[in-house]
């Protein structure tokens, strides 16, 4: 995982596409449908974030400098 501007730009594209689907669905149907789809996306994003953080912690804690590292 790289932490730079390019990685954040990727998230601009992801959020932009997700928002475009919410806007499209809202304009084609009703605001409630768009809001529910937005909620689904937010929950999916949260689950992804929690799982990514958990995996990151598992990978990091055994590395040199990590809390569980034994030299």
């Amino acid at each position: 995982m790289t932490y730079n501007e390019g990685a954040v730009f990727k998230w601009v594209l992801i959020v932009g596409i997700a928002a475009a689907t919410v806007i499209g669905l809202t304009l084609l149907t009703r605001p409630l449908v768009g809001a529910l789809w937005g909620l689904v996306l937010v929950i999916a994003g949260s689950v992804y974030g929690i799982r990514w953080t958990r995996d990151w912690w598992r990978r990091t804690r055994d590395r040199p400098g990590g809390p569980d590292h034994t030299p």
Binding site: Y3, E5, V8, W11, V15, A19, T26, G34
Partner: protein
């Protein structure tokens, strides 16, 4: 490591131990992320929480309080103008990305062009938003809708202003030749770039929430 750089207390023979070193030892630093990037990412995490509080207020007013009309009649939100403004701000994310890609390849002219374009697009966004406030027909004192509308869009506008200030410094430094293709030599563009992308992401969410839903 730098055993000679361990400081001794004042008056305890520090100069005898190391005649060149002054001040505390170098801070410990991760090899995977530089401290400037880590700093801006942590700052953004705190900003996400701030925006989260405002969004929580918005949805509370909209869903729980549930007024009869949102926005209250006879007012209407200028969705077309805000949509155009969204396109302007999203474009500015592409131009700042172009500036960073250019300097990574050593193209300083491309970086300057990208920075100037981003700055102009950001200024246009802010100008259009102020113009929208002037012509929208209601103030923050109207009712809860007016309050939360101006709070959310104003909070974001303040962030655009802060981003523009960062971009101003980055652009001036770019024209003075402070940046180069090495990663550690263009952090002054990288960090404002990350912040600008965050501002862009937040506007996409604000626009979809306030103007469309």
């Amino acid at each position: 490591m730098e055993s000679a750089s361990v400081p001794l207390p004042h008056g305890a023979g520090g100069h005898a131990a190391d005649s060149h070193h002054h001040g505390p030892p170098e801070a410990n630093q991760s090899s995977r992320i530089d401290r400037q990037t880590l700093g801006i990412l942590l700052f953004i995490v705190s900003e996400v929480m701030l925006f989260g509080a405002f969004f929580a207020s918005y949805f509370f007013l909209r869903v729980v309080v549930n007024p009869t009309a949102w926005p209250p009649k006879p007012f209407e939100l200028p969705v077309g103008v805000a949509g155009m403004n969204t396109a302007i701000l999203v474009s500015s994310s592409f131009t700042i990305h172009y500036a960073l890609e250019a300097i990574r390849k050593g193209n300083k002219q491309g970086m300057k062009l990208g920075l100037v374009l981003t700055w102009l697009l950001g200024l246009t966004f802010l100008f259009v938003q102020i113009n929208e406030y002037v012509h929208i027909g209601f103030s923050a004192r109207l009712d809860s809708f007016g309050s939360i509308f101006y709070s959310l869009t104003g909070l974001h506008g303040a962030h655009v202003f802060a981003g523009l200030m960062l971009l101003t410094f980055a652009t001036i430094r770019a024209f003075r030749g402070h940046f180069d293709k090495d990663a550690e030599k263009h952090l002054g563009v990288e960090v404002p770039g990350i912040y600008w992308h965050f501002v862009d992401i937040m506007w996409i969410i604000v626009f979809a929430t306030v103007y469309i839903l």
